[in-house]
């Protein structure tokens, strides 16, 4: 098998590929009359109009097939300025303005996160970029939000709590929702049929800065804090991961505050294939289905959706160029970084290089990702009671008895062994009972080692590996540290009162005692 592959690659380099390359003399494979302009997949040449139809159809099919977005729902489009998300916003724009039969039926808003501080951009550059961004946002006509990444420092700890989720709609529920929506539209008549997006736009003429307590541009102190956080991280891999995490938290928070129940991100097929392989390397194999699937419900009430996951980067770039989709170029954290600078870059180079020799690489990885199933971990209680990672909100997959994942657990238990010696002093914030004993006294807040252990033990394996590259967890935004402490304290209290809690086993006894108590109350005699 390997030998055959090698021969193929060698012969491919020596001469042109065995597959006959489409030439300009050929006609479009679809309509057989247009002049082809772009080659999709391994040899299908499309003309301009067929390509547009193909591209738009893929977008609609992805949304229609998954039936997650109900009519009239508020959907937040996460726009980074880059080609894929710009294309997505453009598709939504066009989709909303079509004739009523084929019109997209949700209510969009757009969010742009300014990450200039994390990427080391100067203030003037950021202001210039923001001006371009705002111009494009205003032209879309949707309500838009521009938030700076510095606002993570004013996020509440509740953003890390997975809010209760509404049960996912069934097929019938979706159909009835669509039918009733269409009936409503008919009833309103053609005047009332103005797209809901336009209506909302009139009520929010220029919906700019986020009311997260920020009047204008972020303060210098916050920018400073953010740069300090990112410059303290030792590796580019950890920086990219942390940036993604913080950005997601910020977007989810904005979505929650403004009543959006879905967020659309513009990850393309190529990007998701790269992400799948990268996440395997980062130790996040257990969560691939959430990280690369169409929908990601880990935040509970806000669902992340990826409608561009069937489009390759080549298709996106061609479409944007041929049909004039506006986008803004902003340097990212890994711009001009060498190939081996981070796991993400290395994997990107690997996949893209493989793709040139074997054009089905990306689609194969993509098809594999489609088969991943989100199964709850065996043996663990599923649902909100199961512990989830502090940062990525996936189910905690650390098993202290399992040697492979125990390394992270070891480092934290090591720290906790050091602490009892110093725990003689009772600290007020944690122990209401005022006990000063080493075993029962929970770690004090002020101690660096404690806070660190407190956070680390709440993380999944992948996040722990990332946090190893942060020498100190102090520069992290306060909401992370506050939530970590809260969860630790809850866990400690829960452990303390465990024996007093009534579990399912005790249910029978409980019912009996309840029956007796009821009798007692009825006859006026206490237990």
């Amino acid at each position: 098998m390997c030998q055959a592959g090698e021969d193929y690659a060698v012969s491919a380099q020596r001469e042109t590929l065995p597959v006959p390359r489409p030439g300009r003399e050929q006609k479009c494979v679809k309509c057989a009359e247009g002049l082809p302009v772009v080659v999709i997949r391994a040899g299908d040449a499309f003309c301009r109009d067929c390509f547009k139809a193909f591209y738009v159809h893929k977008f609609r099919a992805m949304l229609g097939k998954n039936r997650l977005i109900f009519p009239g729902e508020k959907v937040l489009l996460a726009w980074s300025g880059g080609p894929s998300s710009s294309s997505m916003v453009w598709q939504v724009l066009e989709g909303l303005s079509q004739d009523s039969a084929k019109r997209l039926r949700f209510v969009p808003g757009v969010i742009y996160v300014d990450e200039g501080a994390a990427c080391g951009q100067s203030l003037q550059d950021r202001v210039k970029t923001l001006a371009e961004v705002k111009l494009i946002l205003q032209n879309t006509g949707f309500p838009w939000h521009v938030v700076a990444l510095e606002e993570v420092f004013s996020l509440p700890p509740s953003v890390l709590c997975s809010a209760s989720q509404e049960p996912a709609g069934t097929e019938e529920a979706y159909k009835t929702a669509v039918d009733s929506f269409l009936q409503q539209q008919h009833a309103l008549g053609s005047e009332g049929c103005a797209s809901p997006a336009q209506g909302e736009d009139q009520s929010h003429p220029s919906h700019s800065q986020e009311p997260l307590g920020m009047a204008g541009f972020p303060t210098a102190a916050q920018t400073e804090a953010l740069s300090r956080l990112f410059s303290s991280i030792k590796t580019l891999t950890a920086k990219e991961e942390l940036l993604q995490t913080l950005r997601t938290h910020l977007i989810v928070h904005v979505a929650r505050t403004h009543g959006y129940c879905k967020v659309m991100t513009g990850e393309s097929c190529t990007r998701l294939a790269i992400k799948l392989m990268t996440n395997l390397a980062l130790g996040r194999g257990a969560f691939l289905a959430w990280d690369t699937g169409f929908s990601d419900e880990r935040h509970g009430d806000v669902v992340l959706v990826r409608p561009m996951r069937d489009h390759t980067l080549k298709e996106v770039a061609f479409y944007n160029h041929l049909f004039g989709v506006p986008s803004v170029f902003t340097p990212a954290i890994d711009t001009k970084a060498p190939e081996k600078a981070s796991i993400h870059r290395l994997m990107e180079a690997f996949i893209l290089r493989l793709q040139t020799l074997f054009p089905s690489t990306v689609s194969t990885v993509y098809r594999t990702s489609e088969k991943l199933v989100k199964a709850p971990r065996e043996g663990c209680a599923s649902g909100p009671s199961s512990p989830s990672c502090l940062l990525c909100m996936c189910a905690l997959d650390i098993d202290t008895t399992d040697s492979a994942t125990a390394f992270g657990a070891q480092s934290s238990s090591h720290l906790s062994q050091m602490l009892p010696a110093e725990a003689g002093i009772p600290t007020t914030p944690c122990c209401g009972s005022g006990e000063g004993q080493a075993q029962s006294c929970h770690r004090g807040v002020g101690r660096r080692g404690d806070a660190q252990a407190c956070v680390i033990e709440q993380l999944c394996y992948g996040c722990r590996v990332n946090m190893k590259d942060l020498p100190s967890l102090d520069p992290l935004p306060p909401y992370v540290l506050a939530e970590a402490q809260l969860r630790s304290q809850r866990a400690w209290v829960s452990k303390e009162i465990q024996e007093y809690l009534i579990t399912d086993d005790d249910e029978e006894e409980e019912e009996e005692s309840r029956a007796i108590k009821q009798e007692g109350e009825n006859t006026g005699i206490g237990l």
């Binding site: 390359r21 489409p22 030439g23 300009r24 050929q26 082809p36 302009v37 772009v38 080659v39 040449a45 980074s80 300025g81 880059g82 080609p83 894929s84 998300s85 513009g266 990850e267 393309s268 190529t270 990007r271 980067l313 080549k314 996106v316 770039a317 061609f318 160029h321 041929l322 986008s327 170029f329 902003t330 340097p331 990212a332 711009t335 001009k336 060498p338 190939e339 990107e348 180079a349 893209l352 290089r353 793709q355 040139t356």
Partner: protein, 101 residues
């Protein structure tokens, strides 16, 4: 023998960062022995236009994987890729797909 050619070379998608931020370049390719094709053009670009980090643009003989080449708004795969022979007033566009999302 190839007469001097005037072509427009354009960079997009972030590739312009390697060329001092300049997106469009009107270039006049000098006279040379054999015909001008994309292969020679890349060598010429590397020598004359590329300001920094050649490995981010060119890999071996061809462009780095992830960089699309459009010749007169058509995919270069339809025109022979590196073997396409340049003509006067052609427009070559290099789009980097690696940046952004």
């Amino acid at each position: 023998m190839a007469a001097p050619l005037c072509v427009e070379v354009e960079f997009g998608g972030g590739a312009e960062l390697l060329f001092d931020g300049v997106k469009k370049h009107q270039v006049t390719l000098p006279e040379q022995e054999g015909p001008w094709d994309i292969r020679n053009l890349l060598v010429w670009i590397k020598k004359n236009l590329l300001k920094e980090r050649p490995e981010l643009f060119i890999q071996g003989e061809s462009v780095r994987p992830g960089i699309l080449v459009l010749i007169n708004d058509a995919d270069w795969e339809l025109l022979g890729e590196l073997d396409y022979q340049l003509q006067d007033q052609d427009s070559i566009l290099f789009i980097s797909t690696l940046h952004g999302g």
